[in-house]
Amino acid sequence: MRYLQIIRIAYRALNRNKMRSSLTMLGIIIGVGAVIAMVGIGQGAKKMVDAQIASLGDNLLTIFPGSHTAGGVHGGAGTVTRLTEDDAKAITQFCPAITKISPVVRTNAQVVAGNLNWGTSVEGYSPDFVSIRSWPVASGTFFTDQDVRGATKVCVLGKTIVDNLFPDQDPVGQIIRIKKLPFRVIGVMSSKGQNAFGRDQDDLVLVPYTTAQKKLMGVTYVNSIIASANDRTEIDLASDQITQLLRQRHRIQTGEADDFTVRSQLDIASVAGSTSQVMTILLGAIASVSLIVGGIGIMNIMLVSVTERTREIGIRMAVGAKGKDILTQFLVESIVLSLFGGIIGILLGVISSKIISGVLSWPIYISPPAVAIAFFFSGFVGIFFGFYPARKASMLDPIEALRYE
């Protein structure tokens, strides 16, 4: 096989100058290794953000009360509290793209159990909360529709509350006091950890929203409404249906602005996703610079090699090598150099990513396409930076080359 022969010649030529070849390769090794590790870090961050956003619940839609407009002055979001329990009920009834819905009523309160107390967020929901947020109960039960109808004083605790109020006993069945009212603990939520913005999601007490409205706050409005669409593909449809329904219910004339905002999980995900995408590209670009520097190293050494081996080139031409043969020989040499460096670089990149993720506990994701791209890019670097020296070699005049000392 002719190509095998060419590769063998290239391998031998490189083997002749082991030190030089390995130093040249080092440039590519570092370049490829850096690209793999940096892109791994970027993609790891993206994966983490994606996972956290997914953990908020699949197909989640959130309806916030909108800005209040009076005489051309726009208040901020939430300046009107016009969302009600009835809005939520209407959405369940008239929006076919919505399966689950829960009003959100939120207040801050001091929670007391025995001689321990803890300031936290007390949040009222419907039983659909569990499936909308895909957040299961760890022990005990969640409250039911009956609890909502009767506004019973039951609660489900987040993990952080349990740690602070019931350090060494099972809280289920115990009584805690919220704003001096006794609540029976019927369950404990599983731990969800921090969210993408560093807030402890387990630091909360869940109660039926009716209980929160009537017993704790004395209000009739709800802070917001969360809902989940039938399917990921129906999120936009669901959002449109809700918008239409609420405009109707709130008697908003055509041309007037909505007094509420419907925001979907996808909106948040795409923003966060594009942020980490930018980070990945940025890290990759910085690392690519070192790959290009490595390529210049190859070009440099190939130029030296061509000059050094002028006589060899002359001999080969004298016995019948065409320009093309010489070009191929040197090009293959630089490709072998860069691809070999690329392979070692990939190994180095993977190993160093593992070390980084181990030591700094950063999530790192090495994607196969990134590895493949790094490999082919290193081959491309070999061709790109090897071409000029190879062409120079192939253009030599055989007489001059033979005479070269």
């Binding site: 002749r16 006589r311 001999i315 031409m317 016995v319 090598a321 065409k322």
Partner: protein, 249 residues
Amino acid sequence: MDNLISTDHLTKIYNLGDFEIHALREIDISIQKNEFVAIMGPSGSGKSTFMNILGCLDRPTKGSYFLEGEDISHFDRNGLARIRNLKIGFVFQTFNLLSRTTALENVELPLLYNGANIKNRDEKARKALSMVGLEGRENHYPNQLSGGQQQRVAIARSLVNDPAIILADEPTGNLDTRTSIEVMEIFQSLNEKGITIILITHEKDIAAFAKRNIAFRDGRIVKDEIVKSPNKAKELLLSLPPVEEDEIA
């Protein structure tokens, strides 16, 4: 007789900016198959330029060069490379072997550029090495061989493609007298087998082994004569006192 080589007003002019050097001035010459020609002349006489053109390493400025009846003076680089590969074998003063490459691989080199397969290559190269008396040294590297042996490897390399001509540029220039005669013996025996040989030399003794002597001066042929009774290298070697060859093998 069929002309293996013939030239028609072959002219080479080197343009050095302000002035021109006429290296060859309208050379007309023909060389038949199976000749053994020695080309002589002082440096600057144009003999090397002539050799380069015959060897298809260079192209004439004017005139034509016919090799086996084909005018190749207008061939491009690739065309000339093909002719060099198939029809011409070179032997140089400085041997020009690839270092750190075995004798066998050096001999195989021309075969790499005409697509011969590995088995064929190996066979042909071994045969060529045995023709120059180097069986058993196939895997020696040039630095493990004496000067004479290196030159014999180079001759084997020039032979391996069954060329029409072997061009030797001062092949004995770097060798002592005895080794020179040994090399000439190889040339003579190859010539007896029908191979055309053209060699450049400035030593009269060496030229005396050839069948025809041509002398160049100032880009012109000043002498072209048939050697009446060329020296026989074989006989000469026998008359020399036996020398212990200092082989490094």
